[in-house]
Amino acid sequence: MAHSEPRFHVPAPHVRPGDTPDFSHIDIPPAGEAKRPDTAVPGMETRDLALGLVRVLDHNHQAVGEWDPKLDAGVLREGLRHMVLTRVYDDRMLKLQRQGKMSFYMKSTGEEAVAVAGAMAMSKDDMVFPSYRQQGILFARGRDIVDMMCHCISNSRDNLKGRQLPVHYTWAEGKFFSISGNLATQLPQAVGYAMACEYRGDGEIAATWIGDGSTAEGDFHGALVLASTYRAPVIVNVVNNQWAISTFQGIAAGDAPTFAYKGMGYGLASLRIDGNDFLAVYAATQWAAERARAGHGTTVIEHFTYRADAHSTSDDPSGYRPKGENAIWPLGDPIERLKQHLIGLGEWDEERHAALEKELNELVIASYKEAESHGTLHDGPLSPVESIFEDVYAEPDWRLRRQRQDLGV
């Protein structure tokens, strides 16, 4: 029989299924309040930023304070377009997965700003080591949608020859590293890559993304040790979307006040920002990139956001969190907020937005049609079967040659 009081501390979320969604315990400081220090500031002097919350868009959707990146309306519209495309693509891919067109899918709903604004604030020559929920980077960097879909349905045009689960993209031309299903492994890799950038002296930097849950992995801490020791030009993005599958962020956070604050233990510049605020993500990334390029080392950015949908197509959130949380998330929806900001500037309107959604929906539908013309997972054509034995090594050795013969291909 369960004890009424646990004999040791196990953190639990404030509400569970059946409860009324409630985020009243989350302290949201006003937008525009956070100071923006010089990018050369010693890491330890960012303590207030690691504990606070950098916000630019206020409740009236106006850009306020020192962190306002003061972007042209054209850049904002571009960001909006990438975010809407990400959402439309995700929604369509979910439907297609439910129709059995692919084995698996992971949406990024609610987190579009983290990936899109982050990518846009960096140079396209900078290397990214994403986690599995940053497909927005691919849109921001202009990857062909048909190619992305061909990967997800593992057909003959899949650039990964059908070897990876859907959404585990690689795009070398877009400086987008291979996504691993093993969590946090990309963290020390990104640091090593960034060190190699300095070694080459080519001005390139690296960025990586990790979820709140995965910060518990040793690779996160090992990477921060390396980043601190070698002062690597890398941006470590912690996407705190509150949920690691069914596990709330408190299980990884422990008694740490914020995920950004973990960077303080390594003396790294650390920012906690509103991850649903396109302008805040853009500004923080721009700050961190400038700091890295100037030789001042690594920045840890905690993107405070909310995973608005299931972890993956294999997950059902109704088993562990109340329905309707998404609707009352205190930091709103990133697309809606940027849209309202643009409307407030007189640079956008509902008609244009509806037209954009329609255009991108049609684009995604047409793209899928084209993708399927290169084959489907169930009916093919797939990559040739003999490709199983390719790329294990630069050249197959006798074992692989014989095993290919054994398979009869």
């Binding site: 890799q189 090593g192 190699a196 070694y199 080459r200 790329d391």
Partner: protein, 337 residues
């Protein structure tokens, strides 16, 4: 030609490669300023600078991950894991990442890291400084696994490993670092200076990965060994007066089945040897493959000479170590059959 022990030969390989190729860099725990606890990376920092030979924090996973990231950018990292017993925190990075980057990116990215790591017992290292974990890595598609048995091979194979387009786990049998070892624990330490494989060119040369060598010709029985046991097997054959053919495997992945099969088809008898525990060791793979290739030539069951299925003990080290007597017993068994 210079006389070198295995430490000097490995150092010479790193020196040659760092001189030739600015993309080659070396790092590990104590491997920078101090030159490594076994001195394999000695003087490299002085000669090539802090950013080419440096100390790493004590985090094997981070060391492996850092090396992978560097390799993805085109550098040729040679990362030292201080003892192969310590490699396990880095296993996820090796097994799930380094080995598969070429495959899972369909060749768009490659991460040809060289992981150097001292292995094996016979140095009073106890259970945490004596392991031979090579078999774990032979289960990992995408990495090559190498273990030399002498200074000449060590240098040529390390250079080949650094020049390889694929990752290499490079095991250095530390019992052989300072001299050849015949398995007789009580005797005086002999010197590589008196051994033909202690003659090592100072200039660059490489030996092919995947190629074994018949180091003692014979017709009565084939002994397949690698690392320290190559020397022990040779000494045992001498002591027993058996006309044994000894094969130094050198590379475990991909292993040289041609050389093995040619020998076993000739002798009709075979012993496979490893210092690691017996169950699921690399000798088991060799025995399985040899019986597939040579079943009708075999006149006796294949014998294994291995460590016990126990951790490596400290006080009873020499009762664990597969020494000459265990080889002689195995030879008697296969020759009697």
């Amino acid at each position: 030609m210079a006389k070198m022990n295995m430490i000097q030969a490995l150092n010479s390989a790193l020196d040659n490669m760092m001189e030739r190729d600015p993309d080659v860099i070396s790092f590990g725990e104590d491997a920078g300023y101090f030159g490594g606890v076994f001195r394999v990376t000695a003087n490299l920092q002085t000669k090539y600078g802090l950013d080419r030979s440096f100390d790493a924090p004590i985090n094997e996973a981070a060391i492996m991950g850092m090396a992978i990231g560097m390799a993805a950018k085109g550098l040729k990292p040679v990362a030292e894991i201080q003892f192969s017993d310590y490699i396990f925190p880095g296993l996820d990075q090796i097994v799930s990442e380094m080995s598969r980057i070429r495959y899972r990116t369909a060749g768009a990215f490659t991460t040809p890291v060289v992981v150097r790591t001292p292995c094996g017992g016979g140095i009073r290292g106890g259970q945490t400084h004596s392991m031979s974990p090579e078999a774990f890595f032979t289960q990992v598609p995408g990495v090559q696994v190498v273990m030399p048995s002498n200074p000449y091979d060590a240098k040529g194979l390390l250079i080949a490993a650094i020049e390889s387009p694929d990752p290499v786990i490079f095991f250095e049998p530390k019992r052989l670092y300072n001299g050849p070892f015949d398995g007789h624990s009580g005797g005086a330490l002999s010197s590589w200076a008196n051994h033909p494989k202690g003659e090592v060119p100072e200039d660059h040369y490489s030996l092919p990965i995947g190629k074994a060598e018949v180091v003692r010709e014979g017709s009565a029985v084939t002994i397949v060994a690698y690392g320290t046991l190559v020397l022990v097997a040779q000494a045992a054959a001498e002591k027993a007066g058996v006309d044994a053919e000894v094969i130094d495997l050198k590379t475990l992945v991909p292993y040289d089945i041609e050389t093995i099969a040619r020998s076993v088809n000739k002798t009709g008898r075979c012993i496979v040897a490893q210092e690691a525990p017996r169950t699921s060791g690399f000798a088991a793979e060799l025995a399985a493959q040899i019986q597939e290739e040579c079943f009708y030539a075999l006149e006796a069951p294949i014998q294994r000479v291995t460590g016990w299925d126990t951790p490596y003990p400290h006080a009873h080290e020499w009762s664990y170590f597969p020494g000459p007597d265990r080889f002689i017993n195995a030879m008697n068994t296969v020759l009697e059959a």
